[in-house]
């Protein structure tokens, strides 16, 4: 291709079989205007070093599996183009605050097996209805109360953006707390009480100091910082025993 240029990509390498400290390895990668950062990594794997390990799937910013630190910023690597960094170099690291399994692959166990289940990520209805009783109806206004928070794709960029998660791994963190609010704010849900113990704890909303970077990096505009900090108000009202007077249903 006539418009092909070459950019330097530095990648963090870590081999669990060898252990020790990770190190950066540099590659010269040809690219054109439509080459994504992910495609740059794929070029390295296909042509330069087949041992480079990283996660990816959909290539269109919806599966949430290709998150990396790109020049220190949590990004979906399929969502950024190499041309945005040229003529500088691109430095790619695994998402911050997670243990590194190999190269750019992080250990997501804490989120998927602990944090996410802990917020009960499903509608807790007031009473179970048989299918014959029909659907749970909802107005567009009720739908819009939680729609934004339901857009989370579990890509974990917000955890890589959250220093409080890095400092206190017990903190439930932005995405899980945003999903907690997504269900509490759902008109069909009556799960406030069941989620309250977590929400009201230090590990819940009170672990947040409103750095606000989670909402900046979210590729789906979920705004976890808004979800969490609204619930500091809810938790405070609950603490002083006035929440039930002001919001009989629960969340926002």
């Amino acid at each position: 291709m006539a418009d092909t240029r070459t950019i330097e990509i530095e990648v963090l390498r870590y081999n669990p079989e060898k252990g020790g400290e990770p190190h950066f390895q540099s590659f010269q990668v040809p690219f054109s205007d439509d080459t994504s950062v992910l495609q740059g990594l794929q070029y390295i794997k296909d042509h330069l070093d087949g041992s480079l390990t990283f996660r990816w799937s959909c290539r269109m910013a919806i599966c949430g599996s290709c998150g990396k630190m790109v020049n220190g910023v949590p990004e979906l690597s399929c969502h950024k183009f190499l041309r945005e960094y040229y003529p500088g170099k691109v430095r790619i690291e695994p998402l911050n605050h997670f243990p590194v399994l190999r190269d750019l692959v992080i250990d997501q166990t804490d989120f998927f097996e602990k944090k996410l289940p802990s917020i009960k990520p499903y509608v807790v209805p007031k009473e179970e209805k048989p299918v014959s009783a029909g659907t749970y109806v909802q107005t567009p206004q009720q739908f819009h109360k939680y729609y934004q928070y339901s857009q989370c794709i579990n890509c974990l960029l917000c955890y890589a953006a959250c220093p409080q998660y890095g400092l206190k791994p017990d903190f439930t963190g932005p995405a899980a707390l945003a999903l907690l609010h997504r269900y509490n704010a759902d008109s069909r849900d009556r799960g406030w009480e069941e989620r309250a113990e977590l929400l009201n704890a230090e590990e819940g909303v009170w672990g947040c100091t409103l750095v606000g970077y989670c909402s900046e990096v979210c590729p789906k505009h979920v705004d976890p910082a808004h979800a969490i900090n609204q619930n500091k108000v809810n938790s405070t009202m609950d603490y002083f025993g006035v929440r039930k007077l002001l919001m009989p249903k629960g969340g926002g």
Binding site: P16, N96, V100, L101, P163, L210, Y213, D223, Q230
Partner: protein
């Protein structure tokens, strides 16, 4: 599955890694200047309770270059606090909707900035003319 030897990266100096975190730390550090200023006010109240000459010596100390420089630094950092306080206020605000659409964050923040400007003008006029 055998236990995999993962690598956990250290957090030391995390706030220097990103300009966003640097601004967060400046925002948080502004409170130190606010605290010192409040202690100066508290000392002033103490000197006021001791009588006119004590109060006047407190006022004389405020004219010293050290005091003026401190107050300029405090003014800058605390103004940054005011700016950022309203900037992040939409995050704590409830889900406000006008005609079904969420109120833009900038509108909520601008309301706060205008309130600070209004309160400042009002206080200046009260101290000056009342």
């Amino acid at each position: 599955m055998a236990q995999v030897r993962t690598y956990v990266r250290p957090m030391g100096g995390w706030w220097r890694r990103n300009p966003f975190f640097v601004r967060y730390m400046i925002r948080e550090a502004s409170c130190v200047f606010l605290a010192i200023y409040t202690v100066i006010l508290l000392v002033g109240l103490f000197r006021l309770s001791q009588g006119e000459s004590a109060y006047e010596s407190w006022r004389a100390a405020l004219v010293s270059p050290v005091s003026i420089v401190f107050h300029w630094v405090a003014l800058l950092t605390v103004s940054y606090h005011a700016y950022t306080w309203w900037k992040v206020s939409p995050k704590t605000a409830p889900d406000i909707r006008v005609a079904g659409r969420p109120l833009p964050d900038l509108v909520i923040a601008a309301g706060g900035w205008l309130a600070t400007i209004g309160a400042s003008v009002l206080i200046y006029l009260l101290v000056r003319w009342l």
